[in-house]
């Protein structure tokens, strides 16, 4: 309904002023290079905002349809490139759901451990970036230092620092190396120390509190409507965590808490992520203990299923036996023959529920591989968090959504 035309008075009372339109991004330092916001500003207040994603649209879904099921892994690495292993795990689990197979226990624990390390690096980056964008550069660099440790541990296991492409349908590309524990166990307390030190600069500091508390508020109902998930949803007070609500891998056996916030403001999101780092550390410690308990040589003591129709045979077999060579060739040439069907596989990634809607028509290539990038949903909700607030509030709000271009624009 159009309001009744009452334009005669109000316009005359004040000096005519036009709202200023400001283009922010995509190369704006706070927009992570991939978002453009068109702002209508009244002074410093944001009257209206048009958030335009898509500057990092790289055709993930189209590219997935081109290659085999396995060739999607490098692309998944680059979805949420701050926590690549979680995407690897998410995609592998979705395809495994479609195939109806389960990975041996060691493989599951390995996925949990590396995945949670990835989550830590994600949250370190996000929280560090919030601090940096608020002008506190030092904690950011401290967090980066800690993140390097995580990268170095992951490099030892997977052979790459960031884009690991490590997990496979039906397992992982390799066994954990002997250094797994040596690299992780002494690191974790150090890492928590760094986190605490960074927080000591921020959490009691009124400048930081004023900048984050009451800023970028998302209500419970609205968050659900918008499809928000992960830390953004939990900050509103909803304790939805796929690891708890629909446990996968070995999360059901782990003792960890789901941190939730109170108001859904930037501070809550910061705190939820900070707490999740601590919970992830707990999960890793427990998983390492569980890993130790696996009896060598038992069926559990494998990272991959042994079906040659799904997992490449061991290299030794490929070099020396025709059976291995054939299986190897079939998988390389044609890919895994995934039966027709469609599933929605979802896991808790760094930013929330990472869903893969996979459609197979049989054969080696995905028919459709849709990614539900959690931050695409959160970013949509950002519109309401930003509107009516001040220009400077965009930065922590946007930062705490942890918009990752690869996952958002795909």
């Amino acid at each position: 309904m159009e309001p009744v035309d009452l334009e005669f008075e109000e316009a005359d009372l004040e000096l005519p002023s036009e709202p200023m339109t400001l283009l922010m991004g995509p190369s704006h330092p706070a927009m992570h290079g991939t978002i453009r916001m068109i702002l209508k500003l009244d002074g410093e207040t944001v009257q209206e905002v048009d958030i335009q994603p898509g500057y990092l649209h790289r055709g993930f879904e189209k590219m997935s349809e081109r290659g085999t099921w396995s060739q999607v892994f490098p692309y998944t690495d680059r979805l949420n490139y701050v926590s690549p292993l979680l995407n690897n795990v998410g995609y592998a689990l979705a395809v495994e759901k479609l195939l109806g197979i389960t990975v041996p226990r060691k493989g599951q624990l390995f996925r949990v451990i590396l995945g949670e390390l990835s989550r830590i690096s994600d949250h370190l980056t996000c929280n560090g970036a919030i601090a940096m964008e608020l002008g506190a550069f030092t904690p950011f660099l401290w967090y980066l230092k800690a993140r390097e440790w995580v990268y170095e541990a992951c490099e030892e296991q997977t052979g790459a620092r960031l884009t690991h492409s490590f997990f496979r349908i039906g397992g992982a590309a390799a066994q954990p190396t002997a250094k797994l524990e040596n690299l992780i166990v002494p690191m974790l307390p150090k890492l928590l120390e760094v986190v605490a030190e960074g927080e000591s600069l921020l959490l009691k500091n009124r400048i930081f509190l004023d900048r984050t508390q009451g800023v970028g508020i998302l209500t419970k109902a609205h968050a659900q409507q918008m499809g928000a998930s992960g830390p953004v949803l939990r900050s509103t007070g909803i304790d939805y965590d796929v690891r708890k609500d629909k446990p996968y891998l070995t999360y059901a056996e782990c003792d960890f808490d789901v941190p939730v916030g109170e108001d859904g403001d930037t501070y809550d999101r910061f705190m939820v992520r900070a707490e999740e780092i601590r919970q992830s550390v707990r999960i890793i410690e427990q998983s390492l203990a569980m890993l130790k308990k696996i009896a060598p040589g038992s069926p559990d003591d494998a990272v991959s299923v042994s079906d040659p129709r799904i997992v490449l045979p061991p290299k030794k077999d490929v070099y020396t036996t025709i059976e291995g060579t054939i299986a190897h060739f079939k998988l390389i040439m044609e890919g895994i023959d995934v039966p027709a069907g469609e599933v929605y596989g979802y896991t808790e990634a760094g930013n929330g529920e990472l869903g893969f809607m996979l459609v197979s028509r049989g054969g080696g290539n995905p028919w459709r591989a849709r990614v539900r990038g959690p931050c695409f949903f959160s970013l949509q909700a950002a519109h309401d968090m930003i509107r009516g607030k001040m220009l400077a509030d965009i930065i922590p709000t946007f930062g705490s959504i942890n918009m990752i271009g690869g996952e958002c624009d795909r």
């Binding site: 040659p308 036996t321 025709i322 059976e323 054939i326 190897h328 060739f329 079939k330 040439m333």
Partner: protein, 547 residues
């Protein structure tokens, strides 16, 4: 129609058909190596074994066997039914056959497959069959267990030359005898045979012979594994990178259906393979037809040119069309001759006929001279589309090349517009063409006519444009575009249409679809959709009738 039951599915069959045939017709594949729909039954690979349930009231024939019990770590006595080869077992009404649903069958197939692989060399990386090898297919679908035999496999001769076209690898051979049967039954020449027994068994040439004749490549085509490889194709490409396109052989007037395998990355054709069509070529092609893909790139015309006083000058296609149009415009009505081509597609010829009709020009037909045909597939006429060219002329008189040359010598022709470059007339006779002031030629390859043209336009070859051929028996068959045109080449019908438009004729064709549609209306006989008996893309499901 009588039916039998295969894995709970009713399969209709005709009397005398075997189970595998009837299932094959329904699109169900029962694993097999030695059986081939076009060949006689050998039943030696044992891959197609199926379980046949006894008729009601009768006891199943059971055999005592030993099976390995992992729990007891020993063999235990067990029983299994006697399985039957589906390729040899004639179907009977109401029969109940179990293939995939029987664990006995599955178990047996796994073991047959394992047995076939027992001595197989680790050759996939160097084997050209990898990617279309039945051993690979059935390993994953039937066996998928790791190797158990750890001994050194039996070594047999490798890289044995079987004539000029085929190389044989005995280690890869599963002695299914398909190649022997092809020689016997298709070529009618017993050049190959088996020798030795058991794991020494191998295919050998008949003493003093080598693999020769016109159908040697069919031995490679039927080989389900990588034992026989073609010298032309081996080590050149990998089959899984190739893309197949349905096409028609241009070698002779038989019009054998074939697949052309091209590498889309390199835009190059790597081989031809027969495409099953019961009405035309059944499952076969001759060696010359298989090699036509090589001819496609030889002596190509890739740019437009015109002959001037100082030799040929290169032109763009548009310039050449302009020049040709300018020359042809001055030719008085009736003094222009239009030359159709028995090598070009019906669509090209059709537009050419339209062109001629609008100018009132008489039609002639250029064609290759004949070659030696045989009773199997090879037609004596080397031109794939003589019938089509005549059909699109739509009852207009089509003179031969000789007629044209007569007309030229009689001074009745001032200019010629022609398709193709082939001529059945010899060199000296062709020299007569020198009397004609303008010879505009649209050719994909260089040849006797192209050399005598005054304006030469580059046409797309048969792999570079879609079209259709009508074979000697009057069956019009479409073929698809497999490669993008090379150089400046443009489909011939398009060139004719552009030339016509440059001459202010009414030739509106801009898309291939439009040409095909017009052809379907004006000369329905030549339209492949109407008269083709087999869909170009559908798999062969016709029962075989080969002897």
């Amino acid at each position: 129609m009588p039916t039998f039951k295969l894995d709970d599915r009713e399969i209709p069959f005709e009397k005398g058909e075997t189970i595998i045939q009837a299932a094959h017709r329904q699109g169900i594949e029962i694993p097999h190596y030695c059986w081939h729909p076009g060949l006689s039954i050998a039943a030696n690979c044992r891959m197609c074994l199926v379980e046949v349930e006894p008729p009601p009231g009768q006891r199943a024939m059971m055999l005592d066997i030993l099976t390995w019990d992992a729990a007891k770590n020993d063999y235990v006595v067990d029983r299994k039914p006697k399985l039957q080869p589906a390729c040899q077992l004639a179907a009977s009404d109401g029969m109940v056959v179990r293939s995939e649903s029987s664990h006995f069958v599955k178990n047996t197939r796994a073991h047959v497959q394992e047995f076939l692989l027992a001595n197989h060399p680790v050759d996939c990386p160097i084997c050209d069959q990898a990617g279309e090898c039945k051993l690979q297919d059935y390993y994953l679908s039937q066996q998928h267990t790791p190797k158990r035999m750890l001994d050194e496999p039996v070594h047999k001769p490798k890289a044995v030359p079987f004539g000029d076209t085929i190389v044989y690898d005995a280690e890869r051979c599963i002695t299914c005898t398909r190649c022997i049967r092809v020689c016997d039954e298709l070529a009618g020449d017993h050049m190959l045979d088996l020798r030795e027994r058991g794991n020494r068994n191998e295919v050998v040439l008949a003493p003093g012979r080598k693999l020769e004749g016109d159908y040697t490549l069919m031995t490679e085509h039927v080989c389900p594994v990588g034992a026989l490889t073609s010298r032309h194709f081996r080590f050149k490409a990998r089959v899984w990178t190739l893309k197949e396109t349905p096409s028609i052989c241009t070698g002779c007037a038989t019009g054998c259906n074939m697949w052309v395998d091209v590498d889309p990355r390199e835009e190059r054709a790597y081989r031809n393979r027969p495409r099953d069509n019961a009405a035309v070529n059944k499952y076969w092609m001759c060696d010359d037809g298989m090699m036509t893909y090589l001819r496609e790139t030889e002596r190509r015309v890739l740019e437009a040119s015109a002959r001037g006083d100082a030799g040929r000058t290169k032109l763009t296609v548009d310039q050449a069309i302009e020049r040709a149009a300018a020359a042809l415009k001055g030719v008085p009505k009736g003094w222009l001759a239009v030359l159709l081509s028995a090598q070009a597609s019906s669509e090209d010829n059709f537009v050419m006929v339209e062109f001629a009709r609008q100018l009132g020009a008489p039609l002639y037909l250029s064609a290759k001279a004949g070659w030696k045909g045989d009773k199997i597939l090879r037609s004596e006429d080397q031109n794939p589309n003589r019938a089509g060219a005549v059909a699109v002329a739509n009852n207009a008189k089509v003179g031969t090349m000789k007629d044209l040359l007569h007309a030229v010598s009689a001074g009745q022709v001032q200019a010629v517009v022609g398709l193709g470059t082939d001529s059945d007339a010899e060199g000296d006779a062709l020299a007569t063409l020198g009397r004609v002031s303008d010879v505009v030629l649209l050719a994909s390859h260089d040849g006797p006519l192209a050399a005598r043209s005054t304006v030469l336009l580059p046409a797309a070859s048969w792999l570079e444009a879609p079209g259709s051929f009508m074979n000697v028996r009057g069956i019009a068959q479409p073929f698809a575009k497999a490669l993008p045109p090379k150089g400046d080449a443009v489909p011939a019908w398009d060139l004719v249409a552009r030339l016509g438009r440059a001459m202010e004729l009414d030739l509106k064709y801009r898309k291939f679809k439009e040409v095909r549609a017009a052809m379907a209306v004006i000369t329905p006989a030549a339209n492949p959709e109407k008269s083709s008996t087999a869909d170009a893309t559908a798999p062969a499901v016709q029962p075989q009738t080969t002897a």
